[in-house]
């Protein structure tokens, strides 16, 4: 388990202070947010490669060492934003979430089925946008470069992105290859706003696109590791994205 809360806060405060002090100089040296994300799109394979994909099926192994838990997850997506995610948790069962193009839903053994609304819905749609990796300006109300920093041992440029609903993401793009190194995300969940720190590792090419095969996330003092086991772009049957019966019952 990794507990980064306190050191991160110290770092964040230190970073903020540096940002203020160094702002005039950085304004001259930092690329614009548009330049950074354009470079990122090129780095992962380019708009053409992204546009060529119609489907994605990603299989993931997850672990939460602090809870002593290992899980498997599968995410299936189809253009423009249909998606189904299934997390199998030993001792509990499956937690599912999806969007059929009209209704976003979640089902988990503890809470039962639910139709997502409001900020939760907005957050989910942003995640499920098939072109989320290249449509930053569409997904975020504002984007601005704020500092050059180091994350995960790499020099990177922090770009602050703010959603329509005010949630903030601080994405850090590597100086050397333009790939996303990590992010500090404030996002809305049913329980409230949570801040998480995410780092991306071991990029590999799948179907012409580079994606991180290892993701580490620190949230609420808990560390979560996610390893991509496979990613395919073969067609996925439309029935996969159909609303589950429990969610249909909620609509009655």
């Amino acid at each position: 388990m990794s507990f980064r809360t306190s050191p991160l806060r110290v770092l964040a405060l230190a970073g903020a202070a540096l940002t203020v002090a160094a702002a005039p100089a950085q304004a001259q040296t930092l690329p614009t947010a548009e330049q950074v994300v354009a470079r990122y799109v090129t780095a992962i394979g380019g708009e053409q490669a992204i546009s060529a994909q119609q489907f994605r099926r990603v299989q993931i192994e997850m672990s939460m060492p602090a809870a002593g838990m290992s899980m498997t997850a599968e995410m299936m997506q189809a253009r423009p934003n249909k998606a189904v995610m299934n997390i199998e948790i030993p001792g509990m069962g499956s937690m599912r979430q999806g969007y059929d193009g009209q209704v976003a839903w979640s089902i988990n053994p503890m809470q039962g089925p639910k139709i997502l609304e409001g900020k939760e819905l907005a957050d989910l749609l942003r995640q499920y946008d098939f072109d989320a990796n290249m449509r930053f300006s569409h997904m975020f109300r504002t984007m601005e470069t704020v500092a050059r920093t180091e994350m995960n041992g790499e020099s990177c440029v922090n770009v602050r992105m703010v959603t329509e609903s005010g949630d903030e993401v601080l994405n850090c793009f590597a100086d050397d290859d333009g790939l996303l190194v990590g992010a500090v995300v404030k996002s809305s969940t049913e329980m409230g706003q949570m801040e998480s720190t995410i780092t991306f590792h071991d990029y590999r090419e799948f179907g012409g696109l580079k994606m991180p095969t290892r993701t580490s996330m620190s949230v609420m003092g808990q560390q979560m590791e996610m390893i991509v086991k496979s990613m395919t772009t073969d067609p996925i049957d439309a029935s996969v994205f159909a609303l589950p019966a429990e969610v249909k019952a909620l609509q009655q």
């Binding site: 069962g93 053994p109 989320a132």
Partner: protein, 450 residues
């Protein structure tokens, strides 16, 4: 960017349990502890708390000074048991619940689904509480070893294995100077209850005083636990048992749901119980003796009884405020559209009701959706995590404060019943259950008013 969907997992999976065995449980492998491992374990425990304790002032405790004073003792510890005592002393400085060390052996000693009969956990089939200075039998499980031996509720346990009433009394006397009576009763009943559990097939010699004051001695052969053994994460394997019943009183039908722990293995039976009792005139939820479990289950199950989106409470971590959101459950386990149960809901608590059970009971009480009967709960209601330490033990440590609707705080004071109905020996001997009786009477009254 795609990781955001996993965020809520961490919060939902935080535990709210007090089911940790005592930290000084004997180790079956008393090999000399490597000083490097001892130090790494101590440091890991200290750091875990240092990074996650929700109050950055540690409520006035000088946390670095606590480390500095105890670290040399940790380095000198020659066994895991000794090291646990040092770490427990460190955690006790915080004065909060949900800070404990679960021995690694405890989490590995019981294997769920093991094939060898001699390895199966068992019990004597009776529950005990510490009442008015005595350990009383409060429940005898039909078909269990105690039932077969003719033991009845209200009898006082004078001895069970190595546990004697005198030893309990001595322990109570020692504890009384350091904690309140409710916590002492919790500890005393927990210790006495442990003497009535073991491996199925083992024999426990018990001596009891019956209703007429006669000494009764029995040899109880522990029987396999009735519930399902379940594992979840770093928690040791635990019995999960859900019981439901239907009572008739004054022409009304009342459902009763009791369960022993909030673990996911209970979810299907809990959901089914609500479905099956949906047509009754009221539901009694018996949380007596329930020590908690997975925190996320409380708001989820509360959705069966609440018809509007609401919150059972707020978890306050160092960085975030997270709501225990209740989503009304409008679909049955069979996938049919239903409405949450709208009839009267009574919840039974006692001093062994803790953690997630307190959040559930106290939350619904504060929302005005349930009335609580029985005795004040344990007052140990903090969300916690359970990382494994370098020596193989598991550290239970709270990571958030918990505030209920309207700002009520259960850590310490516990959930105070609307209708106090403490158990008494006289009632038990007469075959009565004061809390259940009061709850049933209230449900009958509520229905007569409707």
């Amino acid at each position: 960017m795609k990781s955001i969907g996993f965020l809520a997992l961490g919060a939902a999976l935080s535990a709210c349990a007090t089911a940790a065995p005592p930290a000084d449980a004997p180790s079956p492998t008393p090999a000399r502890l490597d000083p490097a491992v001892a130090l790494a374990t101590f440091d890991s425990a200290w750091s875990s708390v240092n990074r996650t304790f929700w109050d950055t002032t540690f409520y006035g405790v000088n946390w670095p000074a606590v480390r500095d004073s105890l670290r040399p003792r940790a380095q000198q510890a020659t066994s895991n048991a000794e090291l646990r005592r040092v770490i427990t002393a460190m955690l006790d400085e915080l004065g909060q619940s949900h800070f404990n060390v679960i021995p690694g052996e405890a989490s590995e000693s019981l294997r769920a689904g093991g094939s060898e009969r001699e390895g199966q956990p068992g019990d004597a089939g009776m529950e005990v509480r510490y009442v008015d200075g005595r350990v009383l039998v409060t429940r005898v499980v039909p078909g269990g070893a105690a039932d077969a031996a003719g033991i009845r509720p209200g009898w006082a346990v004078e001895a069970a294995g190595a546990m004697t009433a005198q030893r309990v009394a001595d322990a109570v006397q020692k504890l009384s100077g350091t904690m309140d009576a409710r916590r002492v009763a919790y500890m005393a009943a927990g210790g006495a209850g442990a003497a009535l559990r073991g491996t199925a097939g083992d024999t426990v010699q018990v001596k009891l005083s019956d209703g007429a004051g006669r000494m009764v001695e029995r040899a109880l052969v522990l029987r396999e636990l009735r519930g399902q053994m379940a594992r979840f994460g770093n928690l040791p394997p635990m019995e999960v048992r859900v019981e439901q019943d239907t009572l008739r009183a004054s022409g009304r039908t009342i459902g009763v749901i009791g369960f022993n722990i909030w673990l996911p293995a209970a979810i299907p039976a809990l959901d089914r119980a609500v479905d099956e009792l949906r047509g009754t005139d009221g539901i009694v939820i018996d949380l007596r003796g329930n020590p908690g479990g997975l925190g996320g289950m409380a708001p989820g199950w509360a959705g069966h009884f609440v018809d509007r989106r609401d919150t059972l409470g707020t978890m306050i971590t160092r960085r975030d405020r997270l709501e225990f959101v209740i989503n009304p459950r409008r679909v049955s386990a069979a996938g049919q559209r239903v409405q949450p149960f709208a009839g009267p809901v009574a919840i039974l608590t006692d001093e062994m009701t803790a953690s997630t059970s307190e959040i559930f009971a106290g939350g619904l009480q504060a929302l005005g959706r349930a009335r609580v009967f029985g005795a004040t709960s344990s007052g140990q209601a903090l969300p916690s995590l359970m990382p494994r330490l370098p020596n193989g033990d598991v550290l239970l440590h709270a990571v958030a404060d918990m505030i209920g609707p309207g700002g009520v705080r259960w850590e310490g004071p516990g959930v105070v019943p609307d209708t106090p109905a403490p158990v008494t020996r006289e009632a038990l001997l007469a075959g009565r259950d004061p809390a259940l009786d009061a709850a049933v009477a209230w449900i009958v009254e509520q229905n007569s008013r409707r």
